[in-house]
Symmetry: C2
Subunit: 299 residues, 2 copies
């Protein structure tokens, strides 16, 4: 039985998606219509069109609304976030990284366009993220995204994750703290930045911005725990990507470290920590619903 709170959250999430995606989707593909490097543009569109729930841009837009800001002000941030996220998936799927053939139920970018073009499609999307954000005139927003996405954030987390695999294979043991560092950087930094970018562009004051930051940090952690739980318990048809791949490679995950029940408790705690930062915001209800939804999602 679905608890009544979850059902409510899910209605709110569906309503947010119905309202926001029709604004967001056409804008995501707009820059890549005309240009000289058409095959490259096609590759970038291929991965953007693979879709997904657009969690990061939607969180950015909702964070702007949560502090009373308008959608339009936060749209450049939302678009930039999805470009950064999509580039990171393209590069992560490469043979030299996670070596995946399937992503969101379709062949990965390099399977269709070749490795060279996939690397360039990623580079192009990352660069375009900053172009879009800079066009809004907000150097502070560029700085925030670059910090979260770069070597001190997402890219650094991916590097530690890559090294971790090699070390685990050689028999080195990792602890809880190291796992948290990897995830805080690899997945957490960009999710937190999604919420912060929305606050910044939506005109949050410094107290509201601190609440959004803390909320973003907590849902980032919750998101990763749920990812690990799904990887351990779900199948490829549901996930749209290879399941059990992390465990299969001896990668450390929350379930492998805490057990499945322990991981579920950690997920619950992180979600509640996220929720406790919201009540002081002018319009907290969507962000509340999304925190619950992200912890309950099945893919």
């Amino acid at each position: 039985m679905i608890p009544p709170e979850a059902a409510k959250a899910s209605d709110q999430v569906r309503a947010d998606l119905d309202r926001l995606l029709p604004v967001l989707e056409p804008r995501l593909l707009t820059p890549f219509r005309l240009g000289e490097a058409m095959r490259l543009a096609e590759g970038m569109r291929y991965s953007l069109e693979a879709g997904g729930k657009r969690v990061r841009p939607v969180l950015c837009l909702l964070a702007a609304e949560s502090v009373g800001g308008g959608l339009e002000s936060a749209l450049p941030g939302a678009i930039a976030l999805e470009y950064v996220h999509t580039y990171s998936l393209i590069h992560d799927d490469l043979p030299a990284m996670d070596d995946d053939d399937l992503r969101r139920g379709r062949p990965t970018n390099h399977k269709v366009y070749g490795e060279g073009h996939a690397i360039l499609a990623g580079d192009g999307l990352l660069t375009e993220a900053f172009a879009v954000l800079a066009a809004s005139g907000r150097a502070d927003a560029v700085a925030l995204l670059a910090e979260a996405a770069g070597w001190r954030g997402m890219v650094g987390g991916q590097a530690l994750d890559l090294e971790g695999e090699a070390l685990t294979a050689s028999g080195t043991d990792f602890g809880w703290e190291h796992l948290q560092t990897i995830h805080r950087l690899k997945t957490g930094a960009l999710l937190r930045a999604s919420v912060e970018l929305g606050g910044l562009l939506g005109g949050a004051d410094s107290i509201q911005q601190a609440s959004l930051r803390a909320y973003g940090e907590a849902i980032g952690l919750a998101f990763q725990i749920q990812d690990d739980i799904l990887d351990a318990t779900s199948d490829a048809a549901t996930l749209g990507k290879r399941a059990g791949k992390d465990q299969g490679r001896g990668k450390i995950t929350y379930p492998s470290l805490l057990g499945l029940d322990g991981a579920r408790r950690a997920l619950q705690e992180a979600t509640e920590r996220a929720l406790c930062h919201l009540p002081s915001l002018p319009n907290p209800s969507s962000l509340q619903a999304w925190a619950r939804y992200l912890a309950e999602r099945i893919a």
Copy 2:
């Protein structure tokens, strides 16, 4: 015998390097001292330390000075340009792209750190370029660099170049115009942006900025022609990278299209076109010397 003009140019170039590199070099490595992803930072430093003449940052600084701007104002642009250039070399050298083992006389990044880390080192440098530029508060500078470096510029040129190799291998013929498009994007866009960024950060008015843009476009072309000539006529010890590699792969080059003499004439023309835009600037002498130097360099 060295013509007296070239000797003069070369003295000026040496004086500029002696003055600018001690300011630039320590700043290039500063961001990568402390962090959680230390091996990644080490890989980024490895490629930054490989050095070279720092053509792009130096052009940026000299362009700022040519319109009366100070060094400090243009330094974030100079650093960002070298990060973008270095990332592009790391990614271009990957097996899926140009597959090179040697760069500036040292093993390429992926030969030392592995492909996965090399991809991430490139991603990290590209992202840090925008972080540095954004920290100066100039969204217009971020926009300029992102446009030049992205899929409509450098990345697009690299994609066309990759496709060109495949098409040449299949027997398709390319003309002069297609070659120019590739180079205008692949090498030209970032060189032009180097000069434009210096002008922008140095406070150029719109007429000065148009002169700098035209100068940058012309030296970008000259640079590529000279690169092709050197690839065809030099050896690996002098170049610090594999020589004859473009011709060896049947890649179209200026010498293969125009003959060696024709390529030298085109180089001369482009250099003179660059020079004719400078006399109206307050301090044109360094940019004049560099245009001559880039056409006469031997590596």
